[in-house]
């Protein structure tokens, strides 16, 4: 009994301390976006609002951590890139429906969950990087072109299992059905100049060096290369290619988001929403563009000059939740065509 009492008291005291620390104005964040990208944004948020942001950067296992911590999880908010990850949290029932007029106004409806479970914060288009001299613009106008015979031995991509490629394939499943997507993946695999490897930037390097003529990559890598003062050789890589925003004549270019959502049981829900609102605001959107050259979620926001230089394009307006849903099928297709072998 006395042991019980002592532990009870000790734990009680512990709780009081915990409760005291919870009263401070703060918001607890689990992020799969790298600290070097988002720390400047979080610092600006704290400066403006006085709310302290505590963060853990978790790339794999964020969902499992929230699940295991259960009701007592200290996390209020998640930030991730790719719709697939956001949707996994929705499927696991971890996100809370929230509403905010600011978020509704700033974020176009296709880039936020209808019930406010998640909100897109930036967008990025998955485009084709093509060599200035070795590729004629009419050769690659669509994703479909990449799988056609005239591109044989000329394409470089990163791993077929990377979330960006899986989501792109899922968008093709959504647009044209599973059968066509399988044929496309087969064709693309056949056209590869080398085994899938490296990241999107490494593919452009390969194009520059002549290993291949075209590659798939997200838009922001172009911005990172063009402005890279620390590794000036990357400017040469960027200069050797032109950008193709695919499928402008039909469904539009595949666009993915980075985004966030408030967790069920969030102790600092108001601050979490405040942070999301801040992240969609002009200051944060400018920082996003400066740090990572992503497109602002707010269509009316001013573009970074580098991003603006790529011109306007038509985005695929397919429902992102559909794309998330087809990711499993897309992953299996990648296995079926043994894309990475």
């Amino acid at each position: 009994m006395s042991f019980k009492k002592i532990t009870g008291m000790a734990l009680g005291a512990f709780c009081v301390t915990m409760a005291a620390s919870a009263q401070a104005e703060e918001v607890n964040l689990y992020s799969s976006r790298q600290p070097f990208l988002i720390n400047p944004l979080l610092e600006a948020f704290t400066e403006e609002t006085g709310v302290k942001v505590n963060m853990v950067y978790i790339k794999k296992g964020m969902l499992e951590r929230i699940k295991a911590e259960g009701e007592n999880s200290p996390a209020d908010l998640i930030l991730t890139s790719d719709i697939g990850k956001l949707d996994n949290h929705v499927q696991a029932g971890l996100l809370k429906a929230t509403s905010s007029d600011v978020l509704k106004e700033k974020i176009p409806s296709q880039y936020r969950h209808p019930d406010g479970l998640w909100y897109g914060l930036t967008t990025r288009a998955r485009i084709i990087y093509a060599h200035n001299k070795r590729v004629k613009p009419e050769e690659v106008q669509t994703y479909e072109d990449l799988a056609k015979p005239h591109m044989e031995g000329r394409v470089c991509t990163r791993s077929g299992k990377h979330e960006y490629n899986v989501s792109l394939l899922a968008s093709i499943v959504a647009a044209k059905g599973e059968e066509y997507a399988l044929e496309w993946a087969k064709g693309l695999k056949k056209n590869l100049a080398r085994k899938p490897q490296g990241n999107d930037r490494a593919q452009v390097k390969a194009v520059y060096q002549g290993e291949c003529d075209v590659s798939l990559g997200n838009t922001y890598y172009m911005g990172k290369m063009v402005t890279n003062e620390k590794n000036p050789e990357q400017k040469d890589w960027a200069a050797s290619v032109f950008l193709v925003f695919p499928n402008q004549a039909d469904r539009g270019t595949h666009v993915n988001i980075s985004g966030g959502g408030v967790l069920k049981g969030a102790m600092n829900e108001a601050n979490a929403i405040k942070l999301l609102e801040f992240l969609t605001g002009p200051k944060a959107q400018a920082l996003y563009a400066e740090g990572n050259f992503e497109y602002p979620i707010d269509e009316n926001a001013k573009l970074h000059p580098v991003v603006a230089s790529w011109g306007k394009f038509k985005a695929d307006e397919m429902d992102l939740t559909k794309i998330a849903e087809y990711r499993k099928i897309a992953t299996r297709i990648m296995d079926k065509v043994r894309y990475n072998n």
Binding site: K60, K161, N231, R327, K328, T331
Partner: protein, 563 residues
Amino acid sequence: MNEAVATANMAQGVAKNRWAWLNVWTVGTVLIALMAVAPICAVIYLSLTPGDDIWSHLVETVLTDYISNTLLLMIFVALGTLSIGVGSAWVVSMCRFPGKKIFEWALLLPMAMPAYVIAYVYTDILEYAGPIQTMLRDIFGWETKREYWFPEIRSLGGAASMMTLVLYPYVYLLSRAAFLEQSVCVLEASRVLGRGPWRSFFSVALPLARPAIVIGLSLVMMETLNDFGTVDFFAVNTFTLGIYDVWLNMNNIAGAAQLSCMLLFFVMFLIAAERFGRRKQKFHHTTSKYKALPGYELPFKFALLATIGCALPIVLGFVLPAGVLFYYAIIHYDPYATSEVLGHAGNSALLSVVAAVLAIAIGTFMAYGVRLRKEKTLKFMVRFASLGYAVPGSVLAVGVLVTLGGLDNGIDAYMRENWGISTGLIFSGTIAAVTYGYLVRFLALSFGSVEASLGKVTPNMDGAARSLGHGAFATLRKIHVPIIRGSMLTAVMMVFVDCMKELPITVILRPFNFHTLATYVHQYASDEQLGEASLAALAIVGFGIFPVIVLSIAINKSRPGHH
């Protein structure tokens, strides 16, 4: 050993009865084993939770690739690390040749290099766009890839080479310790009986060192199975990559846990097969005559060969990649980042020291607990407990999450029920959770090396000490620890270096706003920004050098009778 325990029991006047198991060693061992087993059991539990069936799909498509790639990788890395590790340990221990004194410790240096970092560095150097191929193209006037052949670094062979370069020190370390512990008498007997130096090595020295070499090799194999960073970067479809794919791309943790369990059974099978292979053999030293090692003077041709053979792995596994990192660190020097890295270095070092000290204390306790009581169940539990090393890091981390989350929420529910207060999460998301994760993962290192070393101490020693009136603990402290301290130190240093490099457990379990050098490297390396990551990567290596040097001094002194 049964006799030894029986003698000891009799000496203490303790009759064997059905409560004989109830002592601090057995209970302690069981408790620790349970704590270490819990996360592994949590993974097994996860494998039983509902999820989409992945097996028919995997069997139809990529499972054979996963298995064949993994087996090939294991075979290549095993061959590579064995030939480099055992070979260099033997010549360094037994022969005299130029540079031997330096090689003794320098051969350990690549251990401090994380595999994913060395993979990035070599890709930079060796890929099509790298300086070497560019130079070749300039010299020979080639313009495209199709005009010449160059080994592809991002391949199975490349991954095997990278892992061999940084993992061979485990084999080197343990086999060298074993060679140093060997009595020269058996070698001399072998030579007197007409065997040449080569045959003596293969038929006497090597079999005697087998338990130690096997431990070293099994550590290498588990690291190989576990690797994610390198195979992901090179896009080599291994089993571990498959586990992550099922988990993250198919959003199926149950399926990932099922694959992990399969991996676990495979490892258990390998361990059991090896033990079965030497089931009747005993490796206790039968003599206590230790004279100085012979130090054969090698003839010039062989001495040259030995020098080059020992220098090559050091240059390729350490000097070259560290040099490249150093170069990048200077180019990318940034005072703000430097102060940040220094702060993280403190976290890394402190956490690693604590984990290493705890790991050796627990490992020794368990190994001795098993030695005291030879029960099969206890042995099985302890072996099972040290399997954490075989589960891919992130999956094991999820096991730890589930364990601690269950414990925390259980306590919370209990306290709310009985006291009306909520305790929230006590362990989850704390430094303690990270340390616990490290211990579960690296227990195999400490337990394995202590167990192997203890196995070489003849049970007569226990018998003598106990019959002279020492208790179990005093016997451990006064007899065993002094004999096996070389191996204990080895284990401490290995755990330290491994914790410095550890990534998945730290990332998933850490508290808010907490970074280590490895997590800092990861955020840039995952974006292929080697320049920004180089300083922290170099710091990991730098911290690794210190224990490596301590280690080599200690090992030199570890030969019985030489202080």
